[in-house]
Structure formats: structure tokens, C-alpha cells
Symmetry: C2
Subunit: 359 residues, 2 copies
């Protein structure tokens, strides 16, 4: 699917676009591009026994990270891991209940629980992630860059306090309203934890890092700024943004954060992830060209008939328009029952339709 | 809780604010102000046997509509009904499964199903709603205005095609991607149905009407304009906006639509509902003072300690700032286990904190 020249392009396109430099065609990768929709993933998952075992075994996590890079002409690999590795390393006891998502055995409920938390040393409690990063970089051998990631402090705090995914965020918002000082302490520990985790990933070889702010969009605007945006800004200001002479770009993605794009630019990030409810043209105007934009196909478009899928891909490219700084992605992750051929078609359509727009 | 003068103010405040005219204090009502959190509601619900029986019996629906008006100093009553009365009248067979929400026995799946649909004559299939409206107006006797409502065409279509609430909107988006002509036909029938339904409510005495676009926020920006915004605009252009010499204001509320406020103004509405993720100050800027704004306290703030709840109310008022055209509301409905005293405290706090801001 890729010849030597294309492979060489795959090595540069993403990082250049994240820094708003000209590229030969729009780079593309997809959130959850490594995952259950791939038969080779399901085979490995069955052999590994559990999702967590796959994350925690560098050989397996590396293999899963590489699967979509081999199958498709994506312009980046993204570390196969979970956003909840940090709270797990803090001793909360992470498990995954089939069909129900993550659950913590020892959730954080009050001031006392928070007082007992320490930011983990990533080289100890999260060494398996760093091993995976080094291994993936070695295996990729420059074919395409590797993106590392973490959850945002607010998102991690939400899971830690709710104990699992929540529909109404009642416990974490209860903490926000009844004991904001304890929430602030929790977020401060998480800022420290995420900062050292991402710096360790960069040190191990991650060439770009992304902060997933999955639940920032649950907050009222003024609370978002204080409890989600500001902690992300604190992290970004302490990241080591250069490695081996190259800048390590930082992407911030707040799902449902389309109203807060200017506030996200103020975190100091290089790029902002955009979900499908925000037009890329509107996002460009709101961010005044100060950052790159990553997005934003509706993940449900991967179920559309091929010709319609191609048209939707073209609509996303046209919405961004001419100029630098677009990384094509979905507005959310690939769903587990998507046909892999549709993913391939989407990726190839991005390249085919954008090759002329960067002459 | 209200003296004669205050009662008289309750008669005018909402409608004046919806038309951006000066008011003595910010009017307030809450989505789902009639509902399960009220013990008097639960008593009536137990006697009625089912939620649908309450909606469909004008005596009971009227009584439930009036309960929060009696208990609190809210500035409006909102018709107690369900957004799915229209598809039910179209023969889809609505039922409510305890703890799971609405379900249709005969969902719409394809071109053939859509071809069999006709917009119901509201004076026939929905006469119980119109009876409730007349009855409530009679009972209110000018104490405060009555708001009628409907679901938006996109929201109704979503429920009709999915058959129930959906997490991923896969069936309705499947229709959008595979057979947009059939989706357009379905939406056209619903535009006709909602238009005659709201006009009948106005004719029966509704003094303002609101279109709940609960699921518009699931759409990509360009699809939102075409499949949710445009049908709402088509309805609004055919509403009878005058009755008994007074203008009947129209409110549009797209949950998660904070990025699309200018597009919503273009529907021709008088006011836009704002959820808590959008700052009212930003919404005022985006809508350039062309409409009133209704919102936007995070519903979870009703669980906050009283002093904190008051502070959050004040933050909403301050975010809107000085000037006309604010109707206080939640960004979503009152939750079933909220303490009614907290609702009363919220409503009184709005009035107390805003009385000076409209001298």
C-alpha cells in the first residue's frame, strides 16, 4: 500500500502539519485506529486474555500499536494504552468489566482519600508504557511518527471520583460544589503526574503528545476554564518540547469543547482536536490560525456507503480549506464494529483528495 | 410566597423578557419543573398508573403543570406533556419502560415505513394536549404565562428511527448517509406535523412555544444546518405568532448547539436556549443581541450546598450581565432526585439577585 517514497512522506507529514508547515497531502490518523474493529487485534486480545494485559505487556502493546500502521497508510502511530494508567499506578485498582468499561476498586471520595495520593514516578509504576514507546519507535524505524498521550487532569479526576464512566458526573461535580479545595488538590497531583508521564513518554521517544480531555465538555464554561483548561495549561508549560533537535508538538482535545477553542489555544498547545459538531472553518476563524486543527469526521460516517464516505471526507477537507495546519482525524474513536475496509477507504480518500490542495 | 403585586409581575415578566423588553427582575422557569422530584407529582403519578396516562388525561396533565407554579414563584408554567406525542399520534405505539425511557413498538426503518406516514391533525389525535392547554390557561387565570412545546423534527425523527433513546444515533445517521431522500421526506412530514401542532397549541392558549432540539447536537455542523436547523426554520416561518393582540414568542433549544447560535438565530426565533457549556456572555456576543437567551445553570448545581447554589445562580446572572433579554433556566431538566427546597431556593435567588439589575 506504500512505496518507499510514500513511506518517506509518512515520516514527516504529521509533525510538519502539527507545526503548520506545508505538506504534500493532508496527514491522517484515526483515534482508536488500533482496536477491536481489526481482526488481528481481536486475535491478539484473545491470546492475551484481557485488555489490561495487552496494555501492560510491551511486546503486545507494541504489536497492537503497529497493526494499523501496517494495514493502512496512516501518517502516525498512536501508543496503544489507556488513559487510566496513571490512577491505576496510584493504586486505585483499575479493571475493565466487559461491555461496561473501566472501573476502579478504590475510587476517591473525599479529602482523606485525596490526601493519600502521590503522583507516581513513571519510570517505576508506568515503566511498561515507556518500554512500549521505545519498542514502537525501534520497530517503526522512521516509517511514521509515534504519538504519546495522557488523559487530562479533569478527565482522570472524573474517573477517579466517579469510580467509572458517569452519565451525570454527580460525584465529581458534588466535590466541585462542596469541597473545591480538595478538588484543587486532586487536580494539582494530577498535573504533576501527567507532566512527568508525558515527559517520560517524550524521553522514551514519543514525537508528539496528545492530551485527551474526554470529560471537559461536561463542565459549565467558567468551571471548564478553571478545572480543565488551567490544569492542561500548567502541564503544557512544563513539558520538554524539544527532543533530538526536533520540536515535540502538543495536541489538546476537549470533546464538546467547540465553544472554548480560543481558551484551548491559551494552553500553549500546538494543535487542537475538533469534534464533528464544530465546523473546521469556524474553528480556524476562532483560533485565528494560531494552532493546527485535528479532525473532524463524524465516526458514524465510517458506516456510510463508500461513495458517501468519500464525499464526507471531501466535505471535511473542504471545510478546512486551503493552507497549512490540518490533520485529518475522526471527531471521536473508531467504533468496534466498523469494517476495516471502510477505514482504509477513508484514509486513502484523505490522501487522494488532498494531494492537490498542497501544491 | 407571592403577594398580589408579585403575582401580577409573574403575569408579564417572561413574555416581556422573551421579546427583550425591560422587566423588574429576571424571569425564571426550569425545564422539567413539573416532575418526579415533587412529592405531589409522585402522588398523582402513582394514582394515574403511568406517565402516559398522566400526559393523556387533561385533568391530570393540567394539575401537574400547575404544581410547580403553586409551590414556587416561577414566572411561567410549561405544558406537562412529552415530546413524543406526535409520533405516537402517527401510530408508532409509544410506551415508557421504567428506568429505560421511551420506546416505539413500530419504529420507522426505511422508505416504505416513511411512505406510510401522515402528519396527524392535532385537533383529532392530539386533542388531549389542546384540552390540557385550554384547561391550564383557565386555571392560571393570568397568574403567569403558559409555554407550549414540541420536539424538533430531527429529534422526533431520531426517536422514530432509532425506536428509543440512542447512544450513537446509528440508525438515523445510517438513513442520513444511505438514503437522504427518505430522511428528507420524513423531516418534511414532521415539519408539517410540528407546525400544525404548535399552531393548535397557540390557538388553544399557549402564550409562548419552545422547540426542543434534544438531539441536534449529535450532528456534524453541515448536517445540523440541513437536517435540524432548516426544518425548525420552516416551522417557525409558518407559526401564527400573534394571538389576542399579543406576540407569541418562539424559543429554540439545541442541546450542545453552542457553536451554532448564529445559525439558530436565522431560524427566525425570538429566543435561544443555552446549555451550561456555553457562556451567556459569549452567546450574547455570538447572537449580537438579536434574540433573548434562556439558560443556563448546570442542573447538577441543584445538589450544591445552598450558599454555593446561590453563588452559581449569581454567576449565571453576572455572565449575562446588564440589559434585556435574559430568562433564567437550567441548561437541562431538573433531575428526579433533586430536593424541591433547592429548586425553590434557586428560583428565589434568581429574583433576589436580579431585582436591582433591572431598575
Amino acid at each position: 500500500m506504500t512505496d518507499v517514497n510514500a513511506a518517506s512522506d509518512r515520516g514527516n507529514r504529521l509533525l510538519r502539519a502539527l507545526l503548520r508547515m506545508p505538506v504534500d497531502m493532508t496527514p491522517v490518523w484515526l483515534m482508536r485506529q488500533a482496536g477491536r474493529y481489526l481482526p488481528e487485534y481481536r486475535a491478539l486480545r484473545a491470546a492475551a486474555g484481557s485488555f489490561l494485559a495487552m496494555c501492560q505487556t510491551p511486546e503486545l502493546a507494541c504489536e497492537v500499536t503497529l497493526q494499523p500502521v501496517r494495514r493502512f497508510s496512516v501518517d502516525a502511530a498512536i501508543l496503544f494504552s489507556d488513559i487510566l494508567t496513571i490512577p491505576d499506578a496510584m493504586g486505585l485498582g483499575l479493571s475493565f468489566v466487559e461491555g461496561e468499561g473501566p472501573r476502579f476498586q478504590r475510587p476517591i471520595r473525599d479529602r482523606h482519600d485525596v490526601a493519600g495520593l502521590r503522583a507516581p514516578d513513571p519510570t517505576v509504576g508506568l515503566h511498561y508504557v515507556l518500554d512500549t514507546v521505545s519498542r514502537v519507535r525501534r520497530e517503526l524505524a522512521g516509517l511514521c511518527p509515534l504519538i504519546g498521550f495522557s488523559g487530562s487532569p479533569w478527565t482522570l479526576a472524573t474517573y477517579m471520583v466517579e469510580g467509572q464512566a458517569s452519565e451525570d458526573f454527580r460525584r465529581i461535580k458534588g466535590l466541585l460544589f462542596t469541597d473545591p479545595a480538595t478538588l484543587a488538590t486532586l487536580l494539582a497531583v494530577l498535573v504533576e503526574a501527567v507532566t512527568s508521564y508525558l515527559n517520560a513518554q517524550i524521553e522514551a521517544g514519543a514525537q508528539a503528545v496528545m492530551i485527551f480531555d474526554t470529560w471537559g465538555g461536561s463542565l459549565a464554561a467558567h468551571h471548564f476554564l478553571r478545572y480543565s483548561r488551567d490544569p492542561m495549561a500548567a502541564i503544557i508549560s512544563n513539558l520538554n518540547r524539544r527532543r533530538d533537535g526536533a520540536r515535540v508538538p502538543v495536541v489538546v482535545f476537549t470533546k464538546g469543547g467547540g465553544c472554548w477553542l480560543q481558551a484551548l489555544v491559551e494552553t500553549g498547545c500546538d494543535a487542537v482536536g475538533i469534534d464533528w459538531t464544530t465546523s473546521l472553518a469556524a474553528a480556524r476563524a476562532a483560533t485565528r490560525g494560531e494552532v493546527a486543527l485535528q479532525g473532524n469526521l463524524d465516526p458514524m460516517a465510517l458506516y456510510a456507503p463508500p461513495e458517501r464516505l468519500k464525499a464526507e471526507v471531501q466535505a471535511v477537507l473542504a471545510d478546512f480549506g486551503e493552507g497549512q495546519g490540518h490533520i485529518f482525524n475522526l471527531g471521536h474513536g473508531v467504533r468496534p464494529d466498523v469494517d476495516p475496509d471502510q477505514v482504509g477507504l477513508c484514509i486513502d480518500a484523505v490522501h487522494a483528495a488532498s494531494v492537490r490542495s498542497h501544491p
